[in-house]
């Protein structure tokens, strides 16, 4: 049945050079001494080692795994001991070192226990897919995408399953030889995939320069519905999107997947690995690699273990080092040069070209683009490579994107035809990479800007809250301060009134003194019976001074009635009434004390002048004494009570409790002080009495008073 073939636009026909490596049949490469197995051979989540250094592993044993679905597990390609798990350069243009597991092969090549399934059709899709994943199968055509994910399509979603046997690049014959020699296994593998995907049709696309492979597959697929379709030999008809266009006429939408047009494409090598995994139970640990190039003598295809150093394979191919000018991993159109031969091959290394200088001469220097348009003529994606070149060179990436640079499949056909030897594809790779980098940078800048603005907002918010708190606190403080001024003046005015009080006191004292002196002078003058004028003068003086003294006393009394007057520092807030009471008491005490003093004086004067009112005066004195005593007692109590209260309160101006004496201590002190005062006075009186030779009775009274005061002062 002839299947229709659509025409692919553009394309080139480079010299195929495939016969170089087809003279010998497929052979197995010899076991290397050391295998360096890279852990990241695929596109997807990284895997981590699950073996330790020094451990012995068997062929096919799992050595690195991960839970993520996009990871591809790694198995030991041969038996041996784990030598090292570390960084090593791998086949990647960046030559950045990647994690690798080094295995020292013991030469036994001992397989781990493994078994396939007899009837894969009995297994359900998920089981098959998990087996494929566990076998570590990735796309072996070069992309390296985990196959289990690619096969995970919904039923009825796939119309066409395409198996890519095109192998359009020159030099490579790995797939060709695989199709020729393993056709039956390949068809089995295709059947497994067909069972998973249930497509409407299965096509194998093969270029018409591989007639032997076509024949072999046609024989093997004679009983099946698999179509072998011959397509015209053209580079790059083996590209996934190009092959879909050739075999189905459909175009994969830009940036999309073949799944969107109901197609899935798998490489022949991947199909063979799937066969081995499901039917034989063997994980993906080797691949067919073409060893070719004119610097090699034993060119051909080898089955090589993953992780084999390139040097070993070059030796296997019989490389002539003197002729060797360039080592290419991959094909001549899309592969990259290797700077050294000590890199390991991975699951996607399909070819090693050991080229001589004449075969692949150094690239001539780049000339100016003459806009001949040949690149646009052969571009399989119908791009305008010369425009892309101008934009990439000038770093006008917006325009490059607009001209669909991301649709470029980097096949290299444009660079191949360029008469000015411009490395066009290199410019596009550079531009694409830089555009992606710029996008990442932009996103990061956007995120930074967002974070910065959030931070600014947060700081502003905090500042606003702080301000609000400060205002609230200030308001509260102002309110409290206002309350305080209605009950007592502020500390400032308290100080002032104290000064005022002191002034008044001194004024009262001085005026009192003056009036007393005047009175004395008057009495003396009266005694001396001075002339009436003088007496009159003196009487006036006395009257005046008395008046002054009275006034000062009144003023003092009035000032004392104001609140903060004599309050001790500990009692500023909240006790105006009590203070008032105490002040009154104090005043009373003071006045009674005064009265007592005067009475005593009068008694003394009477006694010395031998007047008759001695008893009356004595009674007065006693009364005055009683009064003074009572008031004093009251005052003492009040003071004690007052001192207790501030000790329990929590006032701001209060110093720490350590410096405030306890209540009982304070009261004791007061009592003691008062008692001492009494004693002193009594002593003075006694001394006076003794000095004036008073009566015995008097002296005895006074002595008794002293004793009383002394006992009180204990």
């Amino acid at each position: 049945m002839r299947h229709r073939v659509w025409h692919l636009r553009g394309g080139i026909h480079p010299p195929e050079k495939k016969s170089l490596s087809l003279s010998l049949p497929l052979r197995t490469a010899s076991l290397p001494e050391q295998l360096i197995v890279p852990l990241q051979q695929h596109i997807g989540a990284p895997v981590s080692p699950c073996v330790a250094v020094g451990e012995r592993v068997l062929k096919g044993q799992l050595i690195a795994s991960s839970d993520k679905a996009t990871s591809a597990l790694v198995h030991a390609p041969s038996s041996g001991t784990i030598n090292e798990i570390g960084m090593h350069p791998v086949i990647h243009p960046s030559l950045i070192e990647q994690p690798c597991i080094h295995i020292d092969c013991d030469g036994k090549d001992e397989w781990i226990d493994h078994s396939g399934v007899d009837n894969y059709a009995a297994l359900d899709t998920q089981t098959l897919l998990s087996r494929i994943r566990e076998a570590g199968i990735i796309g072996m055509g070069g992309a390296g995408f985990p196959s289990s994910i690619k096969l995970n399509a919904r039923h009825n979603q796939i119309e066409t399953l395409i198996i890519n046997g095109a192998e359009c690049e020159p030099y490579i014959t790995a797939d060709d030889i695989l199709m020729q020699e393993r056709a039956v296994e390949i068809i089995e593998g295709i059947k497994v995939i067909g069972h998973i995907l249930q497509p409407k049709e299965i096509l194998i696309g093969i270029e018409d320069n591989k007639l032997l492979a076509v024949a072999a597959l046609e024989r093997a697929s004679a009983e099946t519905t698999i179509d072998i379709v011959k397509i015209p030999t053209k580079y790059p008809s083996g590209g996934e999107k190009q092959l879909i266009k050739i075999l189905t006429g459909k175009e994969v939408p830009t940036g999309g997947l073949p799944l969107q047009v109901g197609v899935i494409v798998h490489n022949i090598g991947t199909v063979y690995s799937i066969y081995k995994a499901i039917i034989q139970g063997k994980p993906c640990i080797s691949r067919i690699t073409t060893l070719t190039g004119e610097a090699m003598n034993n060119r051909g295809n080898v089955k090589a273990l993953i992780g084999t150093p390139v040097r070993h394979l070059l030796k296997e191919g019989g490389v002539q080092e003197s002729q060797l000018f360039r080592i290419v991993a991959g094909g001549p159109m899309m592969g990259f040069t290797l700077p050294s031969a000590d890199l390991p091959i991975s699951k996607t290394t399909n070819c090693l070209i050991a080229a001589t200088r004449s075969e692949m001469p150094p690239p001539p220097p780049e000339q100016t683009c003459i806009r001949c348009g040949q690149c646009a003529d052969i571009c399989p994606v119908t791009l305008l490579p010369q425009q892309l070149y101008f934009f990439s060179k000038a770093q006008e990436f917006d325009k490059a994107e607009q001209h669909n640079i991301f649709d470029c499949i980097e096949c290299g056909a444009c660079s191949y035809v360029c008469p000015s030897h411009i490395p066009l594809v290199q410019y596009y790779r550079y531009a694409k990479g830089t555009i992606k980098q710029l996008r990442v940078k932009e996103e990061k800048a956007e995120a930074s800007r967002q974070r910065f603005e959030n931070r600014q907002a947060r700081l502003e918010q905090e500042a606003v809250e702080k301000e609000a708190k400060r205002k609230a606190r200030a308001k509260a403080a102002a309110e409290k301060a206002a309350q305080k001024t209605s009950a007592e003046p502020s500390p400032q005015s308290a100080q002032q009134s104290e000064d005022e009080l002191a002034r008044l006191k001194t004024a009262a004292a001085s005026t009192a003194k003056l009036s007393i002196e005047a009175k004395k002078a008057l009495s003396q003058a009266e005694k001396k019976e001075e002339n009436s004028d003088k007496l009159e003068q003196l009487r006036q003086k006395v009257a005046l001074f008395q008046a002054n003294s009275d006034k000062a006393k009144e003023a003092l009394k009035a000032a004392r009635q104001k609140p903060p007057a004599n309050t001790p520092p500990s009692s500023k807030v909240g006790e105006p009434k009590e203070d008032k009471a105490i002040l009154e008491l104090r005043e009373k005490a003071a006045s009674t004390q005064d009265a007592l003093k005067q009475a005593k004086k009068a008694l003394l004067a009477a006694k010395t002048s031998h007047t008759n009112d001695l008893e009356a005066i004595e009674i007065q004195v006693n009364q005055a004494k009683k009064e003074a005593g009572a008031i004093k007692a009251q005052l003492r109590e009040a003071l004690i009570a007052q001192k207790e209260i501030p000790l329990q309160q929590d006032t701001p101006a209060q110093p720490t409790s350590d410096t405030v004496p306890s209540s009982t201590e304070a009261s004791d002190k007061v009592t003691a002080a008062l008692a001492r005062n009494e004693r002193r006075k009594a002593q003075k009186a006694l001394d006076l009495a003794l000095a004036e030779n008073k009566s015995e009775h008097k002296i005895a009274t006074l002595r008794k008073a002293i004793d009383d005061a002394g006992s009180e002062s204990q």
């Binding site: 050294s340 150094p362 550079y430 990479g433 980098q437 800048a445 910065f452």
Partner: protein, 205 residues
Amino acid sequence: MEVVVAILAILILALIFGGVLGFAAVRFKVDENSLVEQINNILPQTQCGQCGYPGCRPYAEAIAGEEAEINRCPPGGEATIQELADLLGVEAIPLDAEHGEEKDTPLVAYIREDECIGCTKCIQACPVDAILGAAKKMHTVIVSECTGCDLCVEPCPVDCIDMIPVAQTPQTWVWKKPRGTGDISIEQIPTSPTATNKIPVSNVL
């Protein structure tokens, strides 16, 4: 008479066209970002202050107000200068070295945790809150958010912050630009592995 007619005609035409333009100005108004917004979107948002302004937005405002030149941003480098030149229609001038040099590799801050005393000074300095930590607790840099502005290095009293280059992975590596026209002759093509497109290996794990 003709003069009057002519004047009337011109007047009417002016009114018609004025009306059309006014209507179009309102109806078809393009919702554009203000100039400051557009400039700010071009700047790299590291908020490092190397331009002399406290952040990228103040610098954008200065550029819009024609108080500052467009060549003051080292993290943005030549690419930013070129874009600003395109946006504003002015000539692209080379980066002003006074404000710093364009770094080849991006840097991120790294706090040596053994020496960190938990003083939060660096946290307060970071303009994008990329340092995680609290008073008397360990501080650490969130690498994905760090812009490399190095404003945190100075406030640290124990000098425990380093600026280290970001590790390159195969995913972040990109090809370099090819050399160009006629720059090398055939004899100059290297025959040993030191050639054009290789990137030095850096393996900071």
